[in-house]
Symmetry: C2
Subunit: 126 residues, 2 copies
Amino acid sequence: MTDKVRNETDPLRGNLDLMVLSVLTEERLYGYLIQRRLTEASSGLVNVQAGTLYPILHRLEADKLIRSRWDAGTGRRRKWYELTASGRKQLSQRAHQWQQYADCLREMLAPVFKAAPKTMPDATDC
Amino acid sequence: MTDKVRNETDPLRGNLDLMVLSVLTEERLYGYLIQRRLTEASSGLVNVQAGTLYPILHRLEADKLIRSRWDAGTGRRRKWYELTASGRKQLSQRAHQWQQYADCLREMLAPVFKAAPKTMPDATDC
DNA sequence: ACCTATATATAGACTTGCTATATATAGGGT
DNA sequence: ACCCTATATATAGCAAGTCTATATATAGGT
């Protein structure tokens, strides 16, 4: 029974933008650092690969939600990103929208949680 | 400034399967009813079109997470769906996994919520 | 000199969801 | 009898988001 089941790791589909924007709320960061911040901030749950992250950054920049500047010639070339005013607004809007959906889904799934407490009752890590 | 922003309505990306499975936890339902249950259960937030739903049902059935039976010739032809044992297990697993991600994302977004209380402090609908 | 970590980038495939379209029947109003 | 709407399922074609694999280049340690 080698199940071959689709996409075990995808609850973040559509939310990566949100996460990237969120780690930029308080600091300017460059790609490689963003990647690691995401891993840290999620206790390893979110592990975005470079090939996933950079296209997102390019897309967010094309949409003018973030803005970039190359490092001023100090050896390592790094592209620093920061939120634009528009990006900050979008982040807030989408965050609230996500919360609404999350509350909704949580409610819809309530019977499932009630039915099966799963391995541990309180493994609230993250 | 006609922003042309991508995908305003996509926090459910990757979670539709979960929702469909969840409405089937306690009853057998056919497609059209599932569609309406989703709308009701989400207070109109989730409004899946037929062209979105049926492919999902076919996929879930191909994965043997649900099972179908045509209505026994009572005028309207309806295809009734129910969870399989495997589907029930998957639902539980994915639900818990989703919760973990949701808790995580909620924590990451906490500063955003703190910064901007948004229009209303308590519009907890759904 | 070599290896690893750092740093960015793109191509190609795959999954998911959307819109549009097609088909068919039951039931109500005229 | 006829039309219209709600019911009911289905598929094709497109767009978007993510993944894997690959490429390039440099800093620093051994």
